[in-house]
């Protein structure tokens, strides 16, 4: 478009502005640049114990706190952070029985308030999360696994698990829950109380991270500045998150140069390609599969009035498979996602450990096969109506519309009602147990280890397994559960990879989800930012600003 012309007006204003600013001396000294980021969601809290997975606060916590371990930019491999070594069996930091982990800690690290970092702080931080057990937070990630924690000495910390858990180390990477807070700062400001939010920490993070909080104007912006006393590689530039802007405004701001980086999604990339000064980054995939859930645990009389399906509709594997065959994957990936994404098999996303590319996946619409399965299941002639609940106006809703179009085109007796509801209503609907809809759409939470996915989304006794009654649907629920348990406890990588591949095949034959796609990790940024890299394991939007250098 005529964007260049719009820019022409800017110098006029900017020149005047600069003139005035020099006069007042506001810009005079600070040599550091500020990376301005157009963010999607404002944090509700900056307290690691209370932040929701995937919420806006997680990205800030990621930058101002450190964890014991971290994930590098290039791979899912773990790297030392506040712990000086990654525990393995080989280096002896994991005990022979695989239950006790020892973390040697870094010395000479200080918190932003000047107090020194010791093993007590680690113990305190993790204890605090477990004890507060905030419903918003993810304390169970620690509390479910840890049997005991010990401070061995000032710089050695030990954890004993309930059972062998191959994914435990990844728990120590998560910004929510695993971030190390200053014991002194918390004790001086309210301490720890079960179920009670800590007001101080929700707005005043005291960590050891490469950045410290500089200012937070609610609903407008949040600024972090470089921590000059950082123990590790110092960050380059300060960062300011700008909040409250719609996706299209962020895209425009980026085009106009108001933002250096933005959080965006694939549907806006078309607006940014070829714009001067903007680089589109489109490598890799997010680890948040876009899924539609089948409810196998529907109580009598709760479904929306129009739904005609029997309560055990999704107990029949043929119907679940038929839905998977009927979905128009091409429309979703190449249409709605503008090609930024990949058809994804099931709950072992591409990019996590052990993903077997050889395993079969649902990746093309096969209406004939879908029809065959629907006929076999005996629903073809009678037809059905089913509602799928989803946040209105979201990408997930588009996924539902594609499902609707796919299914309804297959047979005019099939009806899918897309019940688009407000986000709060959706969250409340899903918080019910059992869920009062037969289907719903959203995306999965990212995790570094396949076990996290499999346990949450596939295990019959897992989070969704219980809510949705997967046990009613799996041909052999015990076998599936045992397989997933085995994956969680297998410490030998090769064996574990084989088991994961097997799980993929099992879940292909007995699907509990319809996964439309794995969304591409795309973003766009100004070409003044050097060192751009995106790691889907970092909190949304998967950026680590400490690695980026803004050069004017």
């Amino acid at each position: 478009m005529n964007f260049e012309r719009r820019l022409e007006l800017r110098p006029l204003v900017v020149t005047t502005a600069i003139g005035l600013l020099f006069a007042t001396g506001a810009f005079a000294q600070d040599m550091r640049d500020t990376i301005v980021h157009g963010a999607d969601e404002e944090p509700a809290t900056l307290d690691p114990s209370q932040v929701e997975p995937g919420a806006g606060g997680e990205a800030v916590i990621f930058h101002v706190y450190d964890r014991l371990l971290t994930v590098g930019a290039d791979s899912a491999d773990l790297l030392p952070s506040l712990a000086t070594e990654v525990p393995t069996r080989d280096n002896g930091l994991i005990s022979e029985d695989g239950l006790t982990y020892t973390f040697p800690l870094r010395e000479g690290v200080v918190f932003h308030d000047g107090t020194p970092f010791t093993a007590d702080d680690v113990m305190y931080s993790w204890d605090r999360v477990i004890e507060m057990a905030m419903p918003e937070g993810a304390s169970d990630i620690l509390s479910d696994k840890i049997a005991e924690m010990r401070v061995v000495d000032d710089f050695t910390f030990e954890v004993t698990l309930n059972q062998i858990d191959a994914s435990f180390l990844y728990s120590s990477v998560l910004p929510m829950t695993a971030s190390i807070v200053s014991q002194d700062a918390v004790e001086a400001n309210g301490g720890v109380a079960e179920g009670e939010p800590n007001e101080f920490l929700s707005g005043n993070p005291v960590g050891t991270g490469p950045y410290q909080l500089a200012g937070w104007n609610r609903t407008e912006n949040l600024t972090i500045e470089v921590n000059d006393g950082y123990w590790g590689t110092p960050a380059f530039d300060n960062v300011r998150w700008e909040f409250g802007l719609d996706p299209d405004v962020r895209v425009l701001g980026l085009r106009a140069g108001e933002f250096d980086t933005v959080e965006t999604d694939p549907s806006y990339i078309a607006d940014l390609e070829g714009v001067e000064g903007v680089i589109v980054y489109g490598e890799g995939l997010l680890l948040e599969p876009l899924h539609i859930g089948f409810n196998l645990n529907i109580p009598e009389g709760v479904l929306p009035s129009g739904d005609t399906i029997p309560l055990d509709f999704f107990h029949d594997v043929r119907i679940r498979k038929a839905f998977n065959y009927a979905f128009d994957y091409n429309a979703f990936v190449n249409g709605a996602l503008a090609g930024f994404g990949q058809v994804n098999p099931h709950y072992v996303p591409i990019g996590v450990f052990g993903y077997d590319p050889e395993a079969p996946i649902y990746d093309t619409q096969d209406l004939a096969e879908a029809e065959r399965l629907f006929r076999e299941a005996g629903v073809w002639d009678e037809g059905f109506t089913v509602s799928v609940v989803v946040e209105s106006g979201s990408l997930f809703e588009i996924q539902c519309l594609i499902l609707k179009d796919s299914i309804e085109r297959l047979n005019p007796n099939f009806r899918i009602n897309v019940a688009g509801v407000a986000e709060a209503v959706f969250d409340e609907a899903l918080a019910q147990s059992p869920v009062e809809y037969a289907m719903w759409a959203k995306n999965g939470d990212p995790a570094a280890d396949p076990s996290a996915y499999l346990e949450t989304y596939a295990h019959p006794d897992g989070e969704w397994g219980e809510v949705h009654g997967f046990a009613n649907g799996y041909a052999d629920p015990e076998a599936v559960g045992a397989l997933i348990d085995a994956i969680a406890q297998e410490l030998d990588p090769a064996t574990r990879a084989d088991l994961i591949g097997e799980a993929q095949r099992v879940l292909y034959d007995d699907p509990m989800w319809l996964i439309g796609a794995q969304e591409g990790a795309v973003t766009a940024y100004r070409d003044t930012i050097k060192g751009m890299v995106i790691q889907p394991l970092w909190p949304r939007p998967s950026m680590n600003f400490a690695l980026y250098d803004k050069q004017n």
């Binding site: 478009m1 607006d271 979703f332 709605a336 309804e408 897309v418 019940a419």
Partner: protein, 308 residues
């Protein structure tokens, strides 16, 4: 006193002549209304819109199974006007803009007819009760009306629709909940005014029942402003309904003009002007047509305002 026993029973002849006068008047009225070129323009637009709504299934292939859903062509997203099969282009989700315009006229028609008829009936009933009965009941009803009038209509409707959840049916419901107030107020004021006329007293002295007086002497004479307002509201309600769906209170994928304008706005920065422009034009024309006809009606019914 019943009609039959009353020695002062009203002779039946005057009523017939009154009817004849009324018929003659309505003929004159029609001529008067149609003598205004802008009113005719409004009528023409309304007729075109109505025929579009009526012939929608023949003008386009109805989307199966639900014709009120946009047909989505996932292989032709964001296509400009002039694309084969999509003369007015497509939306972000591949919806055909022309289809949305044609079926949107049906949606709009439903919206305005349902809301106007429901609110006119409710409002007239409540306003009539308040005006005829008076006293405590009037007082209570008017205090309720006052509460409803403490918030701008659209905002009240917005809040209600938000609470009910996003769907077109809920938009209709929320508008019904809000709009009756206006008619109740107009009706009450009119009835109080008409009640003061001598012929009402005369009818009362003649011993007519209250209901009779209401239906024969008061209602026909009090109805004019309600009719004018209802005509104007046929347009206004589509405008407000479209605003609500623009804000995001209709289910997505529905063929509704406000939804289409809303969907289209994301693309305008990138030059995709068509998805918002055409449906918005339809809303404009719809509201304009009813405004013109409503104005013409008011001028004809109330000569005092002529030429304004």
């Amino acid at each position: 006193m019943t009609d039959a026993s009353s020695p002062l029973r009203r002779p039946s002849l005057p009523r017939e002549t009154a009817l004849r006068v009324r018929m003659r008047r309505s003929g004159e009225l029609a001529v008067k209304i149609l003598s205004n070129p802008t009113t005719i323009f409004g009528f023409v637009i309304i007729l075109l819109m109505l025929s579009m709504a009526l012939f929608a299934p023949w003008l386009t292939t109805p989307n199966a199974p639900d014709p009120y859903q946009m047909p989505r062509d996932w292989g032709a997203l964001r296509m400009p006007p002039g694309t084969p099969n999509h003369p007015l282009g497509t939306t972000n989700t591949g919806g055909d803009v022309l289809y949305g315009i044609i079926w949107g006229s049906r949606t709009s028609l439903q919206l305005s007819i349902i809301v106007v008829s429901v609110t006119v009936v409710i409002g007239t009933a409540i306003g009539s009760i308040a005006g005829m009965v008076g006293g405590k009941i009037d007082e209570i009803l008017m205090r309720i009306v006052d509460v409803f009038l403490s918030i701008p209509e659209l905002i009240f409707a917005l809040a209600i629709a938000a609470i009910l959840g996003p769907s077109f049916t809920n938009i209709i419901l929320s508008l019904c909940l809000v709009f009756w107030v206006k008619y109740a107020r107009i009706m009450r004021a009119q009835i109080i005014l008409v009640k003061q006329n001598d012929y009402v007293d005369a009818a009362r002295i003649m011993g007519d029942s209250r209901l009779n007086i209401y239906f024969r002497d008061i209602l026909p004479n009090a109805a004019t402003p309600v009719i004018v307002q209802a005509t104007l509201d046929m347009g206004a309600i589509v405008l407000i309904g479209a605003t609500l769906s623009f804000i995001g209170l209709a289910e997505s994928g529905i063929a509704e003009w406000g939804v289409l304008v809303s969907e289209g706005q994301a693309g305008i920065a990138s030059g995709r002007w068509w998805a918002s422009t055409f449906p918005g034009l339809m809303i404009f024309l719809w509201a304009l047509a009813f405004n013109l006809v409503g104005d013409g009606l008011r001028d004809a019914l109330d000569p005092r305002t002529e030429g304004r």
